[in-house]
């Protein structure tokens, strides 16, 4: 579909032109989004069919079996969804304020790193009952600091936060690599799983705790953004800094405070990864989830409840296509990135049809509603 209406120069009225919708019923908006997701899934099936030369039935059943094939896979799916959801929730307050925090990756990583740091130096010297709370606090603080530094500069001098936070990711990665090489100067350069400060397992696995934490944080973020005074201030600053200033909001304070919260939540996600799941840290601990979370948060329109579904969808694709690759005997994870990318393009593109509608030339013929 091509809406180059603005480009046509001839006197003839263009085939269609674009009009902004005044409003759209909520179910219609979600119907459009659902249609986009279905279209993306069909495109995925087609692509798999062309590339892998397998029947669509095989492709979809393989993807589904990747999630529902065994109870362990379901638990893995829940855990991955929970972690992605946690990071998506963490970046949301900042984005709602139009602060483009591309540094979630680094903020989660320093959170995980801080936990492992405590495990490494205090593990065995203090009991886990004391160690874990220390790790918790230090992780949150580390995440908050990592997000707070760019926030201070953004608030004071309007330093470009997108690139600042992006660079902080790589500084975090180098910091982790540096420390691990000090701890383990020889060998593979990897830190083995540490036996201290591991979070207790619930029902025999590390799955449920992440889920519980994610549910609690979802509720907290929802209430914070929707019903608290600070949440209101965030949306006002996001709409217009000038308006915010005019009604007496201290914009600088709001920016820094919001980013400290955002960073601390990222730190929490890092804590869950390090203390609850990996028990170690490496430069691949976060594995791009920080960037995916930005897209999840945005696609969910910063709504914590919608975020649950979007992160589930992304995890579904990731894990499902991973299984598909295994079933086809191809050992790489790149295909799932392609599929997730296609899904993002479709959802990003469909927003257009929610905000705008196309009016065709013979407008009495029919108004296209999609």
């Amino acid at each position: 579909m091509n809406n180059e209406a603005v480009k046509v120069k001839s006197v003839r009225e263009p085939l269609f032109h674009v009009v902004k919708r005044t409003e759209i019923v909520w179910w219609k908006a979600w119907l459009i989004r659902a249609a986009a997701i279905v279209a993306a899934l069909v495109a995925t099936g087609l692509l798999s069919f062309i590339v892998l030369k397998k029947s669509p039935f095989f492709v979809y059943s393989s993807i589904f079996s990747g999630i529902f094939g065994s109870s362990r896979r379901i638990l893995m799916f829940l855990r991955s969804t929970a972690i992605l959801l946690l990071i998506s929730l963490a970046v949301t307050p900042a984005f709602k304020m139009r602060f483009w925090n591309t540094g979630a990756e680094g903020q989660v990583l320093v959170g995980a790193f801080a936990s492992v740091f405590c495990m490494y130096y205090l593990g065995g010297k203090v009991p886990d009952g004391i160690l874990i709370p220390i790790m918790f606090v230090v992780s949150l603080a580390a995440g908050a600091v990592w997000a707070g530094i760019p926030a201070v500069f953004r608030a004071k001098w309007k330093t470009n936060e997108t690139l600042f936070t992006l660079m902080m990711n790589y500084i975090a990665i180098q910091l982790v690599l540096y420390t691990i090489k000090i701890w383990r100067p020889t060998g593979t350069g990897k830190l083995e799983a540490l036996p201290y400060g591991n979070l207790p397992q619930i029902a025999g696995g590390d799955f449920w705790l992440s889920v519980i934490v994610a549910v609690i944080v979802t509720a907290l973020v929802y209430v914070y953004l929707k019903y608290s005074k600070q949440g209101y201030e965030i949306s006002v600053v996001g709409e217009s800094e000038n308006t915010a200033r005019y009604i007496g909001i201290d914009v600088k304070k709001v920016i820094i405070r919001t980013l400290l919260i955002s960073g601390a939540l990222c730190g929490l996600a890092g804590f869950m990864l390090a203390a609850g799941i990996d028990h170690t840290v490496s430069d691949e601990t976060v594995g791009g989830m920080g960037f995916t979370a930005i897209l999840v948060s945005w696609l969910a329109k910063f709504d914590p409840i919608a975020m649950v579904f979007v992160s589930a969808l992304v995890t579904f694709l990731q894990q499902g296509t991973g299984q598909l690759m295994t079933d086809c005997g191809i050992a790489n994870s790149f295909f799932s990135d392609i599929v997730i990318g296609i899904m993002f393009f479709f959802i990003i593109g469909c927003e257009f049809f929610i905000t705008y509608k196309l009016k065709f030339r013979k407008s009495d013929k029919k108004e296209k509603d999609k």
Partner: protein, 318 residues
């Protein structure tokens, strides 16, 4: 030692120079494209694929084609990614940052998949690398001067030429003036009859095409034809370099060399531990942050990004 260091820095700088020149052109139209890492990866992967099939079909009989065809394929691949980006942001008015990040996810995945499909016989393309890495046969005879300035492959000189041309076009021609107007204030540009949509599409496609050559150079010349997953980092650094050089392609020539030098510095300092190497690798990122902070504190009009950077234009919006 120092000669080798400078020579390597200049060689690596071409990756950053293509990346940042392309991104400057894109940003001048008002598009903050965070998809550069993905675009560079896709471009490089397509270029390598082209190289691979060329070597399989015609071998090394026509060295000239071994550079030209992959170069064109890479450019076309990058431009196609730019077309996708422009379609989403200009025609469908999608958020630029989100679109860019999705492009990066998609591009890195696509590149990885493409490369993986020929992985087993990938080594064949190292045979074409020597045509990329040398241009002047007499460079060795000119001592240090030859090694620093003349020992590079054709793509290094092309990068500098592209940056200079971009600088001239942006600042001295009508097209450049129009493009800057589109990036600064699209509504005004539209009012005087500049086709905003066309300029944004064209600048983004050309910019992405140029950026993607950086990927091809990195793999075929700098890495000697060995695929490594480092393009993502180089892509992000190229975006950072745009700010570092204050949106000036000519300044970017120098900036790229500095970034190249910082990136390889750890290999040229003797007697340091592996841990310290990781610490030195932090430098390019720290330096970028410092420059970001300094330019934002100075806050003069000359050092600012295009006023409409990151914003989409819809004529009927008020």
């Amino acid at each position: 030692m120092i000669v080798g260091f400078l020579s390597s820095a200049i060689r690596l700088s071409a990756t950053f120079l293509y990346g940042s020149t392309g991104e400057i052109i894109t940003e001048k139209s008002g598009h903050l494209n965070l998809g550069v890492p993905g675009i560079m990866s896709v471009g490089a992967a397509l270029g390598c694929l082209c190289e691979y099939y060329l070597l399989k079909s015609i071998g090394t009989s026509v060295p000239f084609l071994l550079i030209l065809l992959p170069l064109l394929v890479t450019f076309a691949g990058g431009a196609l990614m730019g077309l996708l980006y422009s379609f989403l942001t200009v025609s469908l008015r999608a958020n630029q940052n989100v679109t860019g990040l999705a492009m990066t996810t998609f591009g890195v995945g696509l590149a990885g998949y493409l490369i993986n499909s020929i992985k087993a016989q990938m080594a064949i393309i190292t045979r074409a690398s020597k045509y990329y890495t040398t241009l002047f046969p007499f460079a060795d005879k000119l001592g240090w001067f030859g090694e620093i300035f003349l020992s590079h492959g054709i793509l290094v000189y092309l990068a500098i030429a592209v940056a200079i041309v971009a600088q001239i076009v942006l600042n001295k021609t009508r097209i450049g003036l129009n493009l800057r107007a589109v990036g600064e204030n699209p509504a005004t540009a539209d009012a005087v009859g500049i086709n905003v949509t066309l300029y944004r599409y064209a600048a983004t496609c050309i910019g992405c095409g140029i950026s993607s050559i950086g990927g091809l150079f990195c793999i075929m010349d700098y890495m000697g034809g060995n695929w490594e997953y480092i393009l993502e980092v180089f892509g992000w650094l190229s975006i950072a370099l745009v700010i570092f050089t204050l949106w000036r392609p000519a300044l970017s020539i120098l900036g790229s060399i500095i970034f190249g030098a910082l990136y390889i510095a750890s290999s040229y300092i003797s007697g340091i531990t592996f841990a310290q190497i990781e610490l030195i690798r932090m430098l390019p990122y720290v330096v970028t942050i410092v420059v970001l902070i300094i330019t934002s504190i100075i806050n003069s009009r000359e050092t600012q990004p295009p006023a409409n950077l990151g914003l989409n234009y819809f004529r009927e919006d008020r």
